[in-house]
Symmetry: C2
Subunit: 723 residues, 2 copies
């Protein structure tokens, strides 16, 4: 890639960004689009825009995002989102503080050095930027002292800001957990591996008597987890028919309103996919189906509650401290029986995982780890190929018939600039679903935990495959002989491979923030989908709401992407300091645009009260250690005599990580009792807490909502005679 295609890449990216920004300013003003651009506010019952939307400055969102406090973010989007902003802010801080020192110091040092022809920051000829990189400093030059001290500066800035951030997030989490508002999950624990029932006892009696003995005063009641597969199926079918009925009624009302004859009642075919079979009156047909299913559902609910009990239960206490303490205590003499954890929020319980037994969970976990490791290893090969092949010259050789297309001057420049990056981005988009599925298969009981696990896997994948794969693989052909001779010298390889890929990552980061954040802010794709659905599909209010209902911020996949940028920028910060401004723009723009999205668009799917933070912390630290080790290798390659002075840094980082995890980590795993012992606003309504955990498919259709309890008490008192 030469300097021209680099500039083209940057220019095009910026152009796209500007276009998307203008689009956003224009589209977001239209009242009809409010549900796409302000769904979070609308769902919370607020005006889409404070003040009228007409007179509004199109860039007012920037001011609003800047001036929103952390408390605003928390109240609009929850603690997890606030923690994500702490992450963005911390990284931004690290890069800004690094840049303030590194840019004015290192750039002149490099630029005024005698020319060194041996090193280059790009695989092509790219001497304009080379001059500003560490490659321009000759070997053994005393000027390298500047670079060495820069590594120390970056490290200490990172330690300082990470420490501050961990303390801050710990405080946030404490605030969240001690709020006087009622949170059902603070009164419950999840019990798994309930041992076999004694003779003449139901499972519920078994659980009840066990916990009543231990907590005679604070035990409220238990809910034995049932196998809901069957009842869920019936319930889903019923809900489907209800929706269809509502839709048919809406169509009918519409047609009546437009003055069509009474006979134009909607009809449908009852055969395969509604495409064939007998034609029936929809309203009557769905009503009939619903009436048929309701008693079936009720019957199945009773059967489920009575006979399909699994070896897991939710146990409720009348007091937050007892629940918090119970979740941390060993209950049974055999550790694989009566295992307890914090109850997840009702909305994030993964019910189907609760029945999985202790050792099966361990086995599943290791099996998943092995699969992920294999996936990481075998994706390595295609990534290596992609980065080696997607230079135009190679492509032309491989696919000769694209030669005439590619030889058009303008097209060639664009293609050359984007090809490798696009390949990479598309490739990475395929992965998160698979990793989330694998994480769920581990037997994790809560959604947020599964997201964290998937996010971790994605992080390893990204850093190992994209960063290390591209770095080492990109220079694979040039260093093939070195590898063959000495396969152990990975650090050296990384150190020599890194500088050659600086411009690749420079454009990669730029593409990511200009195009990625542009698309994010303008919400072009959701907008188009919403308008299409509204026009051709949605008939009822509920359907319409479903069409615009926003998702989650999705930091589970966002975060590994960010971490890749952190890793890249840190590793290049001293080698090619010019990357720091790119990193600053990435995290600055991200902070700003996502703050807007968090305040106005996304609705959190769950709340884990910042449990993601320790992972974020550890991974920033891991990136830092990778950077320190790489720099040690690179200084070695520069034959700098004082390179060993860098050895204390990785040790210091490990020590820092150890101290942090000792001081802060356990509070992110367990609830501290001093936090749980804060007063509540009101006396908890235990019945309501209990009810919030009843899965929708088991909730009674009857208005008094008492069936669950009935069935349960029946089952307790009479199950012997019933079964």
């Amino acid at each position: 890639m030469d300097f021209n295609s680099f500039l083209t890449s940057l220019g095009t990216s910026f152009l796209i960004f500007v276009v998307l920004m203008l689009l956003f300013a224009w589209l977001s003003k239209k009242p009809g689009n409010a549900v796409v651009y302000y769904p979070n506010r609308i769902l919370k019952g607020l005006d889409p825009v404070e003040g009228g939307s007409r007179t509004r400055n199109p860039f007012a969102w920037i001011h609003e995002a800047m001036s929103a406090s952390e408390q605003d973010v928390i109240s609009m989007s929850g603690f997890d989102t606030a923690v994500y902003f702490v992450f963005l802010g911390t990284v931004l801080g690290i890069l800004v503080l690094s840049g303030i020192v590194l840019l004015p110091v290192l750039l002149p040092v490099s630029a005024t050095s005698g020319k060194s022809t041996s090193a280059t920051t790009s695989n092509g000829t790219f001497s304009e930027l080379d001059k500003l990189s560490m490659g321009n400093i000759p070997e053994k030059s005393p000027r390298l002292w500047g670079n060495l001290l820069a590594v120390y500066w970056v490290s200490f800035v990172t330690y300082y800001l990470l420490w501050k951030a961990y303390k801050h997030v710990s405080g946030l989490r404490a605030d969240a957990l001690m709020t006087p508002e009622l949170k059902p999950e603070q009164f419950a624990i999840l019990v798994r591996d309930v041992p076999p029932v004694l003779k003449g006892q139901t499972k519920k009696e078994h659980v009840d008597s066990y916990f009543k003995t231990i907590y005679p005063e604070k035990f409220y009641r238990s809910m034995v987890v049932t196998d809901n597969k069957e009842v869920n199926k019936i319930w889903k079918e019923l809900e489907g028919y209800k929706k269809k009925l509502a839709r048919a009624e809406a169509i009918y009302a519409q047609s009546k309103a437009t003055g069509k004859p009474e006979g134009a009642r909607p009809t449908n075919k009852i055969g395969f996919l509604g495409l064939c079979g007998e034609k029936v009156d929809s309203i009557e047909y769905y009503n009939g189906k619903i009436n048929e299913l309701i008693p079936k559902l009720e019957e199945e609910q009773k059967v489920t509650l009575r006979e399909k009990q699994l070896d897991a239960a939710l146990v409720f206490f009348t007091n937050r401290v007892t629940a918090a303490s119970a979740a941390q205590s060993l209950h049974a003499q055999m550790v694989d029986k009566w295992t307890v954890v914090d109850a997840p929020e009702p909305r994030q319980v993964i019910w189907t995982n609760l029945k999985i037994k202790f050792f099966q969970r361990q086995v599943r976990q290791y099996v998943v780890y092995v699969i992920v490791a294999l996936a990481i290893l075998f994706y390595m090969i295609p990534i290596g190929f992609i980065s080696a092949l997607t230079t135009l010259d190679n492509l032309k050789k491989l696919i000769p018939f694209i030669k005439p297309v590619v030889n058009v001057k303008a097209l060639k420049t664009v293609l050359e600039a984007y090809l490798p990056q696009i390949a990479l981005i598309v490739f990475l988009a395929l992965l998160p679903k698979l990793l989330f599925f694998l994480s769920k298969a581990e037997g994790i009981p809560s959604l947020s935990h599964a997201v964290r696990a998937a996010s971790g896997k994605y992080f390893y994948f990204t850093v190992l495959n994209v960063f290390i794969g591209v770095t080492v693989g990109g220079t694979l052909f040039t260093t093939l002989k070195t590898i063959e001779k000495n396969p152990n010298s990975t650090i050296d390889l990384l150190a020599t491979g890194l500088p050659g890929n600086a411009t690749f990552f420079l454009t990669y980061v730029a593409l990511k923030f200009f195009v990625g954040y542009g698309l994010e802010l303008s919400r072009i794709v959701p907008l188009i989908i919403y308008h299409l659905k509204r026009k051709y599909l949605c008939k009822t209010e509920a359907e319409l709401k479903e069409a615009w209902c926003p998702g989650d911020l999705g930091y589970g996949t966002r975060f590994p992407g960010d971490m890749l940028v952190v890793t890249i920028v840190l590793c290049y910060s001293v080698i090619a300091p010019l990357i720091i401004p790119f990193g600053v723009v990435y995290f600055g723009l991200g902070w700003l645009i996502l703050r807007n999205q968090a305040l106005k668009v996304y609705v959190p799917a769950y709340e884990s009260y910042g449990r993601m933070w320790p992972h974020m912390h550890t991974r920033i630290l891991a990136a830092l250690i990778l950077y320190q080790v790489t720099m040690f290798g690179y200084f070695g390659a520069k034959k700098f005599f004082y390179a060993p002075l860098l050895i204390p840094l990785p040790i210091l980082s490990l020590l820092f990580g150890y101290v942090c995890s000792k001081k802060f980590y356990r509070f992110f795993h367990d609830t501290a009792l001093e936090v749980a012992s804060h007063e509540l606003k009101e006396i908890p309504n235990m019945d309501q807490i209990f009810r919030s955990y009843i899965p929708p498919s088991l909730r009674s259709e009857k208005s008094d909502d008492d069936q669950f309890e009935d069935a349960l008490s029946q089952q307790v008192s009479r199950s012997g005679s019933f079964v």
Copy 2:
């Protein structure tokens, strides 16, 4: 060592054993020795011997030891001792079951093999035993299949018995913890790292209010730990004078009884060590001193309680479950504040360690680890020298003037048999004290924990230095060239080094059990010391009791010694199966003799309810893995084609260890709530529980024993005005 010196060694050991046994049978019958041979029974208020001691069969103790049940051991000597017997029994079982199969199978296989001159089980010429070892089987012979299967047999026997033992010990621990008897430590937790006190609050108020908020109903009261250095000093001085006074009075009474004139009151000099200075009347002098010290002690007690409070406290709850659960729960948001652990028994609290701060404990721990690692590394050198030098030939070369002595035929044989072993045993006797001191310096709060930590260090030391050191070092000169060329091949080295040292270890084990257990049973040394003290030193009853008062079983140092034997016997079990009977005798004799000692002699110093077991389990497993790895190496050295079939074994062992630790371990660290929730025999007398933790130096001299409480309540209510 030739065959003759081997037989001499065995014979001499056996002779010593027989003499000691006869001595024991004779001495233990004398009523005057009862306090040496039956102190545990006497202290428990039982008759020294059931039935009269005159008519008793001198070998009745064997029958009594055999027929004593585990419950008897527990009631006489506590759970920790019972667990030690589970360890002895398990190892004995492993060796017996292994021997039953290995001896009849492997010995004929080896004996009937064609002679192989390449291998030898001893460093000298020793062909009589060589014929029965694996070394006699030629390379690549299909007969090696037998040995390979034997490795599998030993491994599976070990897994089976270890599993059974772990389950059994877990049950024992549960029984111990759920007994309805009152145990003060079950109602208390130890709180450390109390954060700085808020203004206008005393430390006790601070602790009280913190725990009252969290446990409003179950909190009883707290005891802030104080710096007792000063008060302990005064108290010790006072106790010393009291003893001396009692002694002086006893002498005076004696002299009166023997009809000496009234004027012969005992006197002493008050100068340095009682050797110079003014001569005074002892009784008057000591009485004066005591009267002088009592008010001083009382004053110091008040000052200590009021002003020398440290950042640690014992917190008492009115309920076992709450205390057990509190000890496992995170209390503070910052994990390094308000850290909690189970309270140790009052008698095993290491008070001076309680004040050490969280991170200082971490630092101390690692510093100690480094020191121990260095100690292990640097002791390696002398051990290597010892085992290389202490062959007579080498000694003669080094110290030529011993030649005439050594050349006496009989002496030479004995010396040759014992020299290396004696060197080793003396050498090892120096270590435990140092390791215990180091473990205490880690900041561990309880004695039993410090003993466990010291025992672990001693184990590593023993196995690494004695076993591996002797094995590799003993053949150091012969394999020097191999090491120089390839320093990585440690497994190979071990595999080739092992067979050459079989006879060394054979005699080592025999010496250990014959002489070691002979001395143990006959208690010659304590007997002599007791009689000397009784005759020349003791004047009062208390002094006499102190003279015979038995120690602890001391399994902290016993166990690493046993583990060395386990490691040796396991590693040689297939190479030289003849070692198995030696191992069986070692553990059989040990079981029998120590059972007698546990029932009649030793008094446990503390009770940890079997917390040692997980360490024992892990270390037996570690010995097994070492054995499996070594065998893999040895089969490789034998060029046996199917040697890789042994690879699954270490993996299986790791898996087994993982499953065991997952299933059982946490219960040995924390108290399971289901166990703690068992009913008590009586309503706990909380005041008594609280009082049992008051250190003796702070206990009031006054009869009503209320001063501590007074001082405490004073300090709570009035400390502001006092200080």
